[in-house]
């Protein structure tokens, strides 16, 4: 047996193709007879469509068709299927595949042009004449519930999508007898997807069997298939959805979009394959983003900084439609009370419509929002009581002895939210040590003598990962001993194939190079959920482990018959079954597979299944909880408001790491995403609902020059919920990052008594706070 691969820094098999220009993204696909599509989109945030004249566009040479809502037939012309229905949704309004008679955000699809080339399709767009009657839009979330607020949908009674409440413990008594009550209000903005590859769809219809094949840059091909089957009223078996190489996802690509309905519908209508590739402006205006959240929170604390209760409300701007149920709003509250033992909580959330692009989870979904809100309470208590922020955390953390710890809330799997394992105190100390927290005061003082303002910020979090129900894995051995693996979970760069190979190579004692993996193709694996919520490693890891164990059992059982010995005399090692007593007697996996192969006239041995294969949907017994503490050190230029990130340290617990190279890549990328939230990313709408910054000159993403060194230390507490001890790692970098940066800014500006009450923290905003503090 060689060195164990699971847990080792194995370089990714995916990289060879990606480094040599042989990746296969949706836009790289060319099909015979393929046409190209472009969508005409609403220029208004809210308007009624009075008329559409497509005749001039249709007359353009090279245009094959121009489609509007009137061309759609039942059932396709119904509102886009809701992927996540929930009885708590009071107004479950999804868009029509093409706008019917009302447009509710700038960018809503109104017409679809299909032409010989994309250039011609885009030429035709301005030739379509649409007469609009504009309606007043609702743009700001804090006005959405006002009595006189414009309604985002003209026929709606109000802008409330859902009101959610979570409560446990004796909240009001805790506040009534509290030694201290503090209050904070703040606005959060998460920004958009901004995967470097936008969305894209290629659709082909085979009229012979009324079957669709759809390639989509999606995180969730099975969700797209399920929704399409519903929208077209077709069996799922007639729809194959393939997520090829996908150039980043980050949440917004996990939804279901109207282009995934209309592009295949038009392909069926015209009898030709059609490609639609989102351009970057469309990405800004039509790919769902995570919009604003407004918080008003109160915290009841003892004089020693123990938090006894939190209560408050939040308003969540959901944009124009409800494309994703209320999963995102739910994930803004369920992570409470974070890593802290807070015994009473009462939160109410209004989820509201605005005439802006729809809301979607972005890396971490609502968890970064919740983590930030909780961490703000820690900062508030620390500041008001004059207790070091690290010490406030120490005094409030769930203790190691408390696991499994039930928070008092219910996870959206319907069971009590339970932290399975962790060691929050050790994580904090490791992060503080890595960041030389104790030496900060001296660094700060030295810098102040030079007129420079340094600050340090701490942020802790816990993250429910690996949610179920499953992400299955099939392993099949062929008679040559090659291993064929299929799984549902599509990858957007997380290295699923490599990780699957590592586990299976270990469990079957075979070479990674002898394993072939297919993922993200509904035609190759029956069912799947999707790559969201830091869930795939936990789920495919557990399923691969289960499937490999079943292969070993099947191989041993058949080998015992072939070798005419008792199964207890056999051992499975290095891809061979060996007789313990007669070590020269072996039978390979391939030879066993041959016994079960479809050879004409040869019987499959009695009691054995045809084909040496196994499918497992084994999953974690519950969501394993990852955790972490981040420490960020910054310098603020009080003249310009520029924030320079000097150092960033992460102590992270994602249980057993399947591949440290990939885990650290996820953490670093996640931290940078969170830094972008804290300092840069903001999708700005004016009062008429017009997006103001639909390019990368004005919408700022983190760049290499602004990023600090990111140092990581791991602390493994294996999850008891799955056999490999796994916890998710995809979002743990992002979740605590915003508070680490922002608390550091506040620390740097303590002379000016600055309290940040919104992010991103732009230089202009910060200068105003500094000026106010100097006045």
């Amino acid at each position: 047996m060689g060195v164990r691969l699971t847990g080792a820094e194995v370089q990714r098999g995916e990289d060879q193709a990606l480094l040599t220009g042989r990746g296969q993204y949706v836009d790289d696909l060319k099909l015979l007879g393929m046409l190209h599509g472009a969508y005409l989109r609403s220029p208004h945030a809210h308007a009624v469509i009075k008329s559409i004249d497509t005749s001039a566009a249709e007359a353009l040479l090279g245009v094959h068709a121009v489609f509007t809502y009137r061309d759609l037939e039942e059932p396709v012309n119904g509102r886009q299927v809701q992927p996540y229905p929930n009885p708590l949704i009071a107004q479950d309004i999804t868009p029509y595949p093409l706008a019917k008679d009302e447009v509710c955000f700038v960018g809503e699809a109104v017409a679809f042009v299909v032409a010989e080339t994309r250039h011609i399709a885009e030429d035709a767009l301005p030739l379509i004449q649409v007469e609009y009657e504009t309606l007043p839009p609702i743009v700001r979330l804090r006005e959405a519930m006002d009595d006189d607020a414009p309604k985002a949908h003209k026929d709606s009674p109000d802008n409330l999508i859902a009101q959610l409440n979570i409560i446990y413990g004796d909240v009001e008594p805790a506040f009534a007898k509290a030694e201290h009550v503090f209050k904070a209000e703040f606005l959060q903005h998460r920004g958009g997807c901004h995967a470097m590859e936008g969305r894209g769809v290629v659709a082909q219809h085979d009229s012979f069997g009324d079957e669709f094949t759809i390639w989509s840059a999606t995180q969730c091909p099975y969700l797209v298939r399920r929704c399409l089957a519903n929208q077209f009223d077709l069996p799922e078996s007639r729809i194959q959805v393939i997520a090829p190489d996908v150039g980043g996802g980050f949440g917004p690509k996990a939804g279901f979009y109207v282009e995934e309905i209309i592009t295949p519908w038009a392909a069926r209508k015209l009898g030709r394959p059609i490609k639609w590739i989102e351009d970057r402006k469309e990405h800004f205006t039509t790919t769902n983003t995570q919009r604003d959240t407004w918080w008003e929170l109160e915290v009841a604390a003892t004089a020693k900084g123990r938090i006894e209760a939190i209560r408050g409300r939040l308003v969540n701007d959901n944009g124009a439609y409800v494309p994703y149920g209320i999963l995102l709003p739910f994930t803004m509250m369920a992570p409470f009370p974070g890593p802290y033992k807070i015994l009473a909580l009462d939160l109410t959330q209004d989820v509201v419509f605005t005439n802006t692009v729809s809301n979607s989870p972005v890396r971490g979904a609502g968890r970064p929002n919740a983590a930030y809100a909780i961490e703000r309470m820690i900062e508030l208590v620390s500041r008001e009581l004059g207790i070091d922020t690290a010490e406030v955390r120490r005094r409030n953390f769930v203790e190691k002895a408390d696991f499994p710890y039930q928070t008092g809330l219910i996870h959206f799997n319907g069971r009590a939210m339970t932290y399975d394992s962790g060691d929050y105190h050790s994580l904090l100390e490791k992060a503080l040590s890595l960041a030389d927290y104790d030496g900060f005061a001296a660094r700060q003082e030295a810098a102040r003598k030079e007129g420079r303002y340094l600050g340090i910020g701490v942020s802790s979090c816990v993250e429910d990962t690996g949610m179920g129900p499953y992400e299955g894995v099939t392993i099949r051995v062929d008679p040559k001993g090659k291993i064929y693996v299929s799984s549902g979970a599509a990858s957007q760069g997380q290295g699923h194939k490599t990780v699957l190979k590592q586990i299976i190579a270990d469990e079957l004692g075979v070479d990674m190079d002898d394993i072939h993996v297919d993922i993200g193709d509904t035609g190759k694996f029956p069912q799947g959920v999707g790559t969201i919520g830091s869930r795939v490693g936990v789920n495919i890891g557990t399923a691969a482990f289960g499937a490999a164990a079943e292969i070993r059992e099947k191989a041993l059982a058949l080998a015992a018959e072939v070798l005419e010995t008792d199964i207890d005399n056999l051992v499975f090692e290095d891809g061979l079954v060996r007789d313990k007593g007669r070590s020269n007697i072996t039978i390979s996996l391939g030879e066993i597979a041959l016994k079960l192969a479809p050879m004409a006239g040869v019987a499959v041995p009695a009691g054995h299944m045809a084909s040496l294969e196994a499918t497992s949907f084994d999953a974690s017994k519950g969501p394993p909880h990852a955790s972490g503490t981040n420490v960020c050190e910054v310098e603020v230029d009080i003249g310009t408001g520029e924030v320079k990130l000097l150092n960033y340290c992460v102590a992270h617990d994602c249980g057993k790491k399947l591949n440290p190279l990939i885990v650290e890549g996820q953490i670093i990328g996640g931290v940078v995403h969170g830094i972008g939230n804290a300092l840069f990313e903001e999708m700005i709408y004016d009062d008429s609902g017009q997006p103001q910054n639909v390019n990368y000159g004005e919408y700022l993403l983190p760049l290499a020059t602004e990023m600090p060194p990111i140092n990581i230390v791991h602390h493994e507490t294996p999850s008891p919920l799955n056999p490999l001890g796994l916890k998710g790692a995809g979002e743990g970098g992002t979740i605590p990052a915003a508070n680490a940066v922002i608390a550091a800014i506040e620390s740097a500006l303590r002379d000016f008594d600055v309290t940040v009450d919104r992010y991103p923290v732009t230089p202009e905003y910060l200068c105003n706070l500094i000026d106010a503090g100097q006045a």
Binding site: E14, Q16, T20, G21, G23, A195, R280, G493, Y696, A704
Partner: protein, 159 residues
């Protein structure tokens, strides 16, 4: 009919003569006409750097250059960096340091750094960050990319 011109250009050592629409940018030509789909179009406005190729050795955004401007030029794309299946030192370093995840921006980083490291064989970390500051990566947080570039520079100097 769309205005067209005949152009001749060399891409990865091979000469092509094509009749192209004058409005097509170089990325369109590479991807649509020459089937070299390794060059990715990320933003179409010259900001993200994903579509960067080498034109007569210089890093150029192929979404900002018209195809007809490439007439007579010598172009290198991502497909022209490796020696067969053998990754060059920069490509291998990207793999070793996990300098890529989804891989979509990667061609632009590789071409940008190919030109930069040729002209600046012994850069500091800060200089590498500056060199790739016109390329956006949403996945990696840049740390693996910078480590890969430093490692590759060191290896290439040692040859």
């Amino acid at each position: 009919m769309a205005d067209t011109r005949e152009i001749t250009l060399t891409v990865n050592g091979r000469s092509y003569t094509e009749t192209v629409e004058t409005r097509y940018n170089l990325a369109d030509i590479l991807r649509e006409k020459l089937n070299l789909t390794g060059t990715h179009v990320g933003c179409e406005h010259g900001a993200c750097g994903a579509c960067t190729v080498l034109v007569d050795g210089e890093a150029v955004r192929s979404c900002l250059m018209l195809g007809v401007q490439a007439n007579g030029k010598d172009i290198t794309t991502i497909e022209g960096l490796a020696d067969g299946d053998q990754l060059n030192p920069l490509q291998a370093a990207f793999r070793k340091h996990h300098g890529l995840q989804c891989g979509f921006c990667t061609p632009g980083f590789l071409t940008t750094l190919t030109a930069y490291l040729r002209d600046n064989p012994d850069p500091t970390e800060a200089e590498i960050r500056e060199a790739v500051s016109g390329n956006i990566c949403r996945c990696t947080g840049y740390q693996g990319i910078v480590a890969a570039a430093l490692d590759a520079a060191s290896q290439m100097r040692g040859r």
